[in-house]
């Protein structure tokens, strides 16, 4: 099976999708009948039906009894983006810890609907394949328990990661890759290698709350630059920050920022990489969501624009196939040796079995096909979320439609206290993330992050509607 080449029905679906997104087919237009499409695309009627069912599942078209398929009104198209926030170049300051423990505890509740976890249900992982590869690995290396794969880690896995980097347009050498215990482990190792305590680290606002806590835990400070709704990291703000402040490193998430879901554009990526690179500031790229684009192409890493070797790109399989494996990587020609040392001295190595199993999984093909399914599923679920929010959330709600990943960043009416909503929702057995944890200044007090990794089920739909009702009540009371 060649990875990545679409099946026939997918080609037909893409054809229709392009007509919809280009405007050739508009809302309520009837799309070609199965017979007509079968003839014009020269595929079987069964293939066309499969394509249309897929498009319907993804919320792009709808069947009308005895009439055929029509382009569907996506209700969320009337939802505005969150407002662009004016942000003064932030002075470095300590990260506030505040309510984080409560938020973290909600992650582990087993009795709630998890709109607070940026992960897919475990059943969605390619479990049969992975478990078959584990069994094969037990036969190939029965003594794996006593074997350690010291940093930089398993060579075959590094080769496979390098191969994927090359396919994604940013070639890497296996020698530049260091295997870690996940993306956050890679970022922590990079931060401890590059920064001295008290140093300032450039981050986006909003950004992943765990990153802010890791920075705080290491005795570092943060400088925030805005990630704008729909646009991504602001390269001008990066330039101003670099010109006005002493910055030891940047940690950026240009591909589907968590929580904002935005994809930073090519030009902005090029600009900010040059700005930071010219200033000699290392860029730690958190690329954990890069494989989860809703569009046809995987967005590029900042490494593509890295003329000075300043970028350390960090990733893992945690958001795609194996959150429980605890394997990730850092890629950097310049700092690979430092990262190896840091990994060895802080925690010795990543687990042996999983390194080898992932190498086998990549090598045996099928990851791209799996990703295609996963990304389509996520994109479809995001549509459902947006539609439900458009109908059920209070007036004044603003949302960034995500370009990939699993997060929806929602600006509620300003009079809503999102931390209070978090507590009310939890009492109704619904987990959400209050916005204030995604900034060192805790200034997203009327924002929430919802994750649609959970998938679209009746239970999720009901929970989301209920959350909308709670938000409306809060807006009315506020």
């Amino acid at each position: 099976m060649t990875t990545g080449s679409p099946l026939l029905y997918e080609q037909v679906a893409s054809l229709v999708e392009r007509q919809i997104t280009s405007g050739a087919l508009r809302v309520h237009d009837r799309i070609p009948s199965v017979r007509a499409m079968s003839r014009s695309a020269q595929v079987s009627a069964a293939t066309v039906v499969q394509a249309y069912v897929d498009l319907e599942r993804r919320g792009l078209i709808e069947a009308r009894p005895k009439s055929g398929y029509y382009v569907r009104l996506r209700r969320h198209e009337r939802l505005p983006l969150p407002r662009v926030r004016r942000m003064q170049p932030a002075k470095p300051r300590g990260v506030a810890a505040s309510v984080l423990d409560v938020v973290r505890e909600a992650i582990e509740r087993t009795d709630i609907v998890h709109l607070n976890l940026t992960m897919s249900p475990a059943s969605k992982s390619p479990n049969q394949r992975l478990n078959a590869l584990i069994r094969a690995e037990l036969r190939a290396h029965p003594n794996h328990a006593g074997e350690v794969l010291l940093p930089p880690g398993d060579l075959e896995l590094r080769r496979q990661i390098a191969r994927r980097c090359t396919l994604a347009g940013s070639p890497a050498d296996p020698d530049d890759i260091v295997i870690t215990g996940g993306t956050m482990d890679a970022i922590t190792l990079a931060l401890t290698s590059l920064c001295r305590p008290g140093d300032a680290v450039l981050v986006e606002s909003p950004t992943y709350f765990g990153l802010l806590q890791a920075i705080e835990h290491l005795g570092l400070r943060v400088v925030e630059v805005p990630n704008h709704p729909g646009a991504g990291i602001d390269p001008d703000a990066v330039r101003v920050a670099v010109e006005t402040q002493k910055i030891a490193a940047a940690v950026l998430m240009p591909n589907f920022n968590n929580p904002a879901g935005t994809l930073t554009g090519i030009d902005a990526k090029r600009q900010l990489t040059a700005t930071l690179g010219d200033a000699g500031i290392p860029i730690i790229e958190d690329d954990i969501y890069g494989d989860l684009a809703f569009g046809p192409e995987r967005p590029c890493s900042l490494r593509r624009f890295d003329r000075q070797g300043q970028v350390i790109s960090c990733g893992s399989v945690s958001k795609t196939i194996a959150l429980g494996y605890r394997v990730g990587w850092a890629i950097s020609p310049r700092w690979a040796a430092d990262l190896q040392r840091a990994k060895f001295y802080s925690s010795v190595a990543a687990p042996t079995l999983q390194q080898r199993v992932l190498a086998r999984y990549y090598a045996s093909g099928g990851y791209d096909r799996f990703l295609t399914r996963l990304r389509r599923g996520l994109a479809a679920t995001a549509e459902h979320f947006l539609d439900t929010i458009a109908v059920h959330f209070p007036d004044g709600t603003r949302v960034t439609p995500p370009a990939g990943g699993m997060a929806l960043w929602i600006e509620l009416p300003a009079r809503i206290d999102a931390l209070e909503l978090f507590r009310t929702a939890l009492a109704s057995r619904i987990g959400i993330m209050p916005g204030l944890v995604f900034s060192a200044k805790a200034d997203y007090r009327h924002y929430i992050r919802l994750s649609f990794g959970v998938g679209w089920t009746d239970e999720v739909a009901t929970a989301l509607q209920r959350l909308g009702a709670l938000a409306r009540a809060a807006a009315a009371a506020g």
Copy 2:
């Protein structure tokens, strides 16, 4: 199978061993004939033979043709201990990095005899058992790849660890245990939780080189107190250090210090725990070798003497059954919540599959029987190493006979440059550890650490003899 109760032949072997160590049987004494012992111990002749073969394998007795078994002269009994080093209370100072990369690279060479690795050969792990448990776990949790066990980690594993703590005389509550990615991960998390950059950390001299590097990597400094040959950590030196310097935390290895192999006695343990506890200084105990006692009892953790809740005891299965699993733990009633946070924010979690498999392994019994075999094997290999060193190493060589663990700490004649010997040995495809890496001051320039985890084979014996010849040549040339 009840864990820990010795087999019949082991009981007989112990009987003879006690007579030898007590002096009731002396060197060259004939030990009772098989028939006599069979009668007096009321066991079969076959059992006695098994016991005597075991004692012979362990180097305690020797067979003389047509005459019977005799107590063997252990040649190393003429080897003196390394000298006690006078050590001024050390001023905090940075850790020298120097030749560490070369030493670390030697760890990964596949073409040398590894006297430089404190690990057992992978084939010695209980691989069949562990792999069977993995297969069982794949059936019980087929979706494990997508499941994450967030800190504090798998409850059943924490229960099993707590149970073992209680059996070893230092009860623990599962809630006080945080699962980590190995012992060093636990120590790093404790250090980042308890210390601010620039702080001074009390360590032993000598101590594990990776610990010194981790401390350096975190921007901390060290204060060294001596671990005396044969005696262990000096509680008076601890008291003086506490009285004269500001110390943020101590990292101590009272059970089989690596590299010295010494077991710190009960009284010293009690004293130093009280001294540090009364001064409000947290004690991070590295108990990674605690299960590898050569004597009949597992030595106790400092937790037994911890009146103020100051001890964080760190351990793993890396030196016993599963170096490649990357699972360890930290135990602390007081700081468990901080350690959970630190683990979550720095690297999220330990691998799911291995946590559950270890819980199954502990629960299903047999670990203690495995340990008994492993410890006897290590003790026997240590004897062979010591005997060979006594014969083949230059005059003036001094060694601490280890009480457990896998390390031999060897003082060579002062005119030998151990780093030079490391290089010469590596050229002869023999890996050793130069002593200077085991101190922040690099002042063990004529010391080496050999690991006997490798086991006793012809290849190892030849390498050790060759190393002795190289050392003799270096002593003659120096």
